[in-house]
Symmetry: C2
Subunit: 344 residues, 2 copies
């Protein structure tokens, strides 16, 4: 049995309250007493009981990272591990803890009911002080519920709602830079493999593609747009649909899809970048390693995570602030071999 406050108090010859003050760095404790109490704490290895503390303070110092059902299939995309690492690091440095809620398919039963149940348990059960939502579909009911229940939350990825705080990378500009690079290389039939269009990231990257073309006075040919789902397999399927259109270049909205596309292009007997240039998005570690190394858009994923945590903790510890926080981190073009160097 670990020692309690009471026991520490007795050993130090003071009251429960005084020990509590020492633990919580309350200033009005005589230095001499404080030292005596600390000595006993060290000696006994005393650690406040988290649940007891939460019950009294209504705070848990735990935040949740929720990754909804719709995206757990993408979980092998290196995006998530990096995000998680960023989030975990930030939590560590703020002395918060991280609870991970994935809603994946593996389980029996209606999984949206399942998601509901988990929501109920975790959030209304006050396990968490606040949550981070990563790349949920725009219509996910969780947003309404969080707003309704008044639970502090930050979305990782843009979310168009005036009361929602979010952190995102500049997807529109990133995509635009990618396509502009292809335009500069002289390409005119540029296709795109989009992300899922019910996610903001998917929409925004498509929007960047459109902007790059129209600002050059080029028409957007809808036949050169194929929807993917951020998976390698989805990238392959989309590329298959695009091939008959004979594009000279493809902008894939994720590196993983770009890799799938390259595979299909090669299987069709064509070369990358000679016959079809390819640009990806994300700059996952793999991008520099595949053959040919991928030209892509780098996004600071771990910063995204730590920034989201910082914002969320701000909301938790300072609920007064009525300003809605929106952070958009810059993206950057990384030129490698997969887009070739075409003469203008």
């Amino acid at each position: 049995m670990p020692p309690t406050l009471e026991e520490v108090a007795k050993l130090a010859g003071v009251s429960r309250s005084t020990v509590s003050r020492v633990i919580n760095q309350h200033p009005s404790v005589r230095p001499e007493v404080r030292e005596r109490v600390w000595a006993v704490i060290r000696e006994t290895g005393y650690q406040p009981h988290a649940a007891a503390r939460s019950l009294a303070t209504r705070r848990t110092r735990v935040i949740g990272l929720i990754i909804p059902q719709a995206v757990t299939t993408l979980f092998t995309d290196p995006y998530f591990p990096i995000l998680i690492r960023g989030v975990a690091d930030a939590c560590n440095s703020f002395q918060y803890h991280l609870m991970l809620s994935l809603f994946s398919q593996g389980q029996a039963g209606n999984s949206s009911a399942r998601q509901d149940e988990l929501y109920q348990q975790v959030l209304r059960g006050q396990y968490l002080d606040g949550v981070l939502i990563s790349s949920a579909p725009l219509d996910d009911p969780i947003f309404r519920r969080l707003l309704q229940d008044g639970i502090p939350f930050v979305v990782v990825g843009r979310y168009p709602h005036e009361r929602i705080h979010y952190v995102d990378v500049d997807n529109v500009n990133g995509a635009r830079m990618a396509v502009e690079h292809l335009l500069r290389l002289g390409h005119e039939r540029i296709a795109t493999i989009t992300g899922p269009l019910n996610m903001c990231a998917g929409q925004d990257r498509l929007e960047g593609y459109r902007q790059a073309l129209t600002s050059r006075g080029l028409a957007v040919d809808e036949k050169l747009i194929a929807e993917g789902d951020f998976t390698e397999q989805g990238g392959r399927m989309a590329m298959q649909r695009l091939l008959p259109q004979r594009p000279t270049a493809v902008f894939a909205a994720s590196d993983v899809m770009a890799i799938g596309a390259i595979k299909v292009i090669r299987d069709a007997g064509l070369r990358v970048p000679d016959d079809i240039a390819v640009v990806g998005f994300d700059d996952i570690p793999l991008a520099s390693v595949v053959e040919p190394p991928l030209t892509t858009i780098r996004q600071p994923i771990d910063q995204l995570g730590s920034m989201a945590v910082k914002l969320l903790i701000g909301l938790i510890e300072n609920p007064e602030g009525s300003t809605v926080h929106r952070v958009v981190l810059p993206t950057e073009l990384v030129i490698r071999a997969s887009c070739g160097i075409r003469a203008k």
Copy 2:
């Protein structure tokens, strides 16, 4: 303010105790009363307060997944996301929650002191009912502490200690199968790129390599063994050291390292599998997609995770059992193009 037990009780015209019984499915409540209480619970959206409950029961229904400092650099290896997904799924289906503790470098200060602090907070603070440790180095002090504090835990990866429960895949046999396959294809100068040798998985896969050779009566040439660290970069460096030895085949202890090795082989102007055959380990999703598709050893990573959770929850809910649980899941050879088909 969410409703409390007391309030629900008043609304249902019963006592606090009765509502508690209903929530906890205690049998001795009249069906009619039970129904009435449930109605109020549904109506009010009542959810028991997690902290209050934990305080009374000394259980949190939260388990931790701890990934120590030494391996967070590998976190982009698809191994971890898959493991995490397996663990998360299993948690969901047992109605447990998952707390993730990564100890990575990002942070300032002596990080082993940091790790200590976190240990103290999370584990002695009774946040968790038990923990899963993934691939910690054999000498990590956490094992001793857990044992000492009597905290239920299961290690993911073999751990040679008579009181420690673990779940692992059959690394020795897997490696052996990989190398035997190369032997069958007629190779004789088979090199290996090992994992870090302070981890069991690294040692065991090397052991499998040795066994395959010696059981064929072949000598093990230490110059054909290069230590890697499970990263792509580590794989490249190890391959560079091996190239001068002119191996005709390489067994890499992870797919990620195999991919690094292939790159080096090609940069040296050699072809895979024609000049050097390569076999990996893990069967990560990427393995089937790279050029050439990787022959590798499949390990059921998500099963590993869910099995570990199952064991751990067993330990938590049934602390009496004095048997030490050890589960070893089978591995499987997956033949693709990277090892070629050599005549016998």
